[in-house]
Symmetry: C2
Subunit: 279 residues, 2 copies
Amino acid sequence: MSQNNSIAATRTVFFVSDGTGITAETFGHSVLSQFDIRVSERRLPFVDSLDKAEDAVRTINQTCRTEGRRAIVFSTLVKEELSVILRKSEGLYMDLIQAFIAPLEQEFSLKATHTIGRSHTSTDSAAYKNRIEAINFSLAHDDGQSNKNLEEADVILVGVSRSGKTPTTLFLAMQYGIKAANYPLTPDDFERGKLPGGLLPYRHKMFGLSIAPDRLAEIRNERLPDSKYASLLNCRYEVNEAERMMRKEGIRWMSSTTKSIEEIAATILQEIRMEARAR
Amino acid sequence: MSQNNSIAATRTVFFVSDGTGITAETFGHSVLSQFDIRVSERRLPFVDSLDKAEDAVRTINQTCRTEGRRAIVFSTLVKEELSVILRKSEGLYMDLIQAFIAPLEQEFSLKATHTIGRSHTSTDSAAYKNRIEAINFSLAHDDGQSNKNLEEADVILVGVSRSGKTPTTLFLAMQYGIKAANYPLTPDDFERGKLPGGLLPYRHKMFGLSIAPDRLAEIRNERLPDSKYASLLNCRYEVNEAERMMRKEGIRWMSSTTKSIEEIAATILQEIRMEARAR
């Protein structure tokens, strides 16, 4: 196959798992992002029996034949007897588990359990309950809704409307079990020249998100086209004032302009931990 | 090292990445869940320079020496010159990228770009905008807050209070860009014997969550101890009535009792897709 062909043609990528397939998918995205190719994705979750494994092979083979190209198969099947079946498909089989199990078995002097569906924390575990509690906390404290129990917050995000606070707090809760509140900084606050009331005792927990004014105007225009709220002039004013306030109050901040939720959340997590160690 | 020692002692696991480290972490959890060992986790995200790579090695080596045990290192570093440095640490180096890059380079007749931080979709992409839009949609349609734009919903979750609807809708949005609304089924609805008003036109998009009454009572008791709301008698009544209503209205449902958010979301996604193909 020529290089041009491989660029032009879309490859079908399968994520096969005996569980949700999220590990296979996250990992596959990461590896595939290293190639300039277009892919079409198909998930095959909960493949936990011989029958379902055979079904998966049929689906993959049919795709290979219809498209006249080999499909890529990322698999996290943990049972040997299932991965043996998938390995025989016409796709390129990428076995994410087996490659790493052997060195760990040796290191731990332990055999792998090959137990299905253990990759997410059990719903009874403290870690899982923490995550759910953190999600509820972040929802209850979204957009400055409540000053209650702010002493429980791990972090309080501040920033102008649409700077990315809400998705970030939810992601922090969902991925890391972090209790994150968020408060908007509004023109009212700028006129008073003060942080929203009730927040002052928690200044050490605050973290700011800023954003380039033109990007903010773009985002706000999608929501409220041609409003004062979305105008570039107003966005410049708000961002300026918010940064001035954060500087005055000694609040650390980062720009969300070109960062994904994942990147913003990972950065904040790192900052919180460093701060915690420094104190 | 004897087998007993490896079980008893906690191993430190590092997740090293030039980006957020989420891929390394998700993958590491999946592989480690196959072993009966206790681990202590440390993230080293944004390792994107020679200096930071050397720092990471120092941190890992110090941990190995302090603990007198080899640390496990899951790495998704994409730059060869950085992973070469990490490979020399005293930890057990698990290189998640290199193992899979070579076979894909051959398959695609393309060289990997080794570009850092590409594993999450660019914030400008349609897929990323979809995710943010889906999160906003799910928030605006949490707990039956709004009947507006329900025609845009990909799925509408229904179920009694605390059956897991809210975290599931947020996860569906965050992970898959699915617009998910959710509506509580309450004693008022059961007395009227009807689905909440405004939902009827969207019955084909509805999906139910049920839950074992004793588990529900446990969850509700954490929130409102010793209330009628949390009593086993009332939980039994609500769950019974909700299941009767879903059966009557022909709404598919699943039990959330022992399932994690990830498992519930992946199951719902599969059901929606099958339904969409069947129509």
